[in-house]
Symmetry: C2
Subunit: 329 residues, 2 copies
DNA sequence: TGCGGGAATGACAGCGTTGTCTGACCACCG
DNA sequence: CGGTGGTCAGACAACGCTGTCATTCCCGCA
């Protein structure tokens, strides 16, 4: 900028004015400055500018793994919200590790990002102190965090599972099993609890059959065999996420068990699988958008108490959930 | 930092030294400073630091749409490379628009990112001047760009298609159709050309049957019907990307045509579809990693001529490509 | 011709750091 | 007891920009 100023025989301030389209520069002066800028290939250093102004016009997104479609859809939505507000988005992966997440967040705070959207690795709020001290607004997604209440955007896990159970029951199923993920995950617990609650609420026979934990085709098979034989054989399965849906699907195929299936989480091509899989669809893009909007509201000065938004889920009925329950019993 | 300095009765420089673990501070002084830092919740402002140092320790990734698995896998890989080098990653979507891409790149250059990885929206190199002037290293991915040679990481489209054709021919197919994407896309042209070339190279009967353009189930059906009837009916199809694979799959299912299929691009659950789809797998994660590594090499001063790397593809054989061609004709 | 007043321009400080250089202090040696 | 050399600490400028305020310019008018 100093070079341009010298070359155009004006002060740096005048160059600054021209660059920022501020008023108060005579057209011919502005023209001259612009010519020099063009000739020298000058480009404003936004880092310096932003530092002067105390804001970075940057927000950040911290997730476990960007390659995971759930997170990448969130990423795309958050980026979009950022872009239309002239902000840039820094994305970072914590790889599921709370300590790495903490390090990442500290680095982001060090850069003075204006705000952060996080899908937290655990519920420990380990970065709370840092965020508090730096007054960096944060929005949590997909699972809540203990401690100081913060803006949070969740999926309606309970409603989703409930709709799945009800759907199956409406089609005559009375014996339904649930395969959930490791109960260390909050969402896994939510879904399991919703299954059990709905199961009991509807007064289904026998106690709910639930299998939690990381699942493989093998681990699924082990429970699937006894549950589908015996006196009260299951006729349908609900799964807690799409990895498990996959495992169950493979196990069912392998064992040639024609059970109904409703999976939590939609996935690409669920419609093409044979049989097409009925799913509880959650909308990561909508969640991401909501979270970003909430964050920007804070950036614009919204000081209302922290809010938790629960985004609706939707049952997408495809063939796999339609198979009628066997007659009798 | 000034506050800390005052409170600890030292100069800002000493605080700086403590913060950065520079030598030459007496342990007790350092301890005192650290205590004040802790008490005041001071945190170094990395923006200012980086500005002083002239580097931002930030790279950027510009793609069409982060939600697309191809790009998000690239994103995850690039982020990983950045993270292990203590850099941050800014991701930006151009939504396939060259002008938006240009605007995005200019904004990034304005922020003085250290380097950029781009999956270009078109071949026009519209940001070349900006990049040239700012000396920002750039690596292009997935498709080349005209003009000044730049580092580029491509997929072996030709080899991939060739292996698909050869695979089908080895299984007895003589009449194979190709459905490609809009020839406006460089990759679509590459794949089509490779199909035609291989087709001719192998001396297959009749002229190659090729259908390009954005495809829907409907548009596929329209050519599929005549091609699979008539004197030289096709017995296999090769598709140019996974959206088209999907359309063809649906069309085949609808028309109840038992043709063999090999798709370009793997996709989640390709193995679960009935029949499991044989695909030419390209590895976006490896491509992203390679591109990032190339970029960092430049950042470390590598001044060798621009390089084009072609990443191998791999044929993943599943049932859909194994069906034998009908005997006789 | 002188003057008032708005428009155009510039000087300067400061955003929060760090690199460079200078200075204070201390211990040790002859 | 003076000199030497090393350690620790601080002053200052600079990175590239912008906000504030002061100054200059120019025009119209009396």
């Amino acid at each position: 900028m100093a070079d341009v100023a010298a070359e155009a025989h004006v002060s740096v301030k005048t160059v600054s004015r021209v660059v920022n389209h501020e008023p108060g520069v005579r057209p011919d002066t502005a023209e001259r400055v612009r010519a020099v800028i063009e000739r020298l290939g000058f480009r404003r250093h936004d880092g310096a500018r932003l530092m002067r102004q105390g804001r970075t016009f940057t927000i950040a997104l911290v997730v476990e793994d960007l390659a995971n479609p759930f997170y990448s859809q969130i990423g795309a939505a958050v980026e979009r919200e950022a872009r239309i507000r002239q902000h840039q988005l820094i994305t970072a992966s914590a790889e599921g590790s709370p300590s790495r997440e903490r390090a990442v967040i500290e680095a982001l705070v060090g850069r003075r990002v204006d705000g952060i959207v996080v899908v937290p690795a655990d519920e420990s709020a380990s970065s709370d102190a840092v965020l508090e001290a730096s007054h960096t607004p944060i929005v949590y997604m997909d699972r809540p965090v203990r401690g100081t209440p913060r803006d949070t955007v969740l999926s309606d896990n309970q409603g989703g599972i409930r709709s799945a159970v009800e759907h199956l029951v409406a089609h005559g199923h009375r014996n339904i099993a649930f395969y959930g993920d490791d109960p260390a995950f909050w969402t896994a617990r939510q879904r399991r609890d919703a299954f059990v609650a709905t199961h009991e609420g509807l007064g289904l026979p026998s106690s709910p059959r639930v299998s939690m934990g990381p699942h493989t085709v093998g681990s699924v098979r082990e429970t699937l065999i006894p549950w589908s034989a015996g006196p009260e054989p299951i006729s349908a399965v609900i799964t807690g996420n799409n990895r498990i849906t996959l495992a169950v699907l493979l196990a069912l195929r392998e064992l040639r068990l024609p059970l109904s299936l409703v999976g939590f989480d939609d996935f690409e091509l669920a419609a093409l699988i044979d049989p097409p899989v009925t799913v509880v669809h959650q909308d990561p893009a909508a969640m991401g958008q909501k979270a970003a909007q909430q964050l920007f509201a804070r950036l614009l000065g919204d000081e209302s108490p922290a809010q938790t938004v629960v985004m609706p889920t939707r049952l997408i009925v495809r063939a796999s959930g339609l198979r009628r329950a066997p007659l009798g019993r």
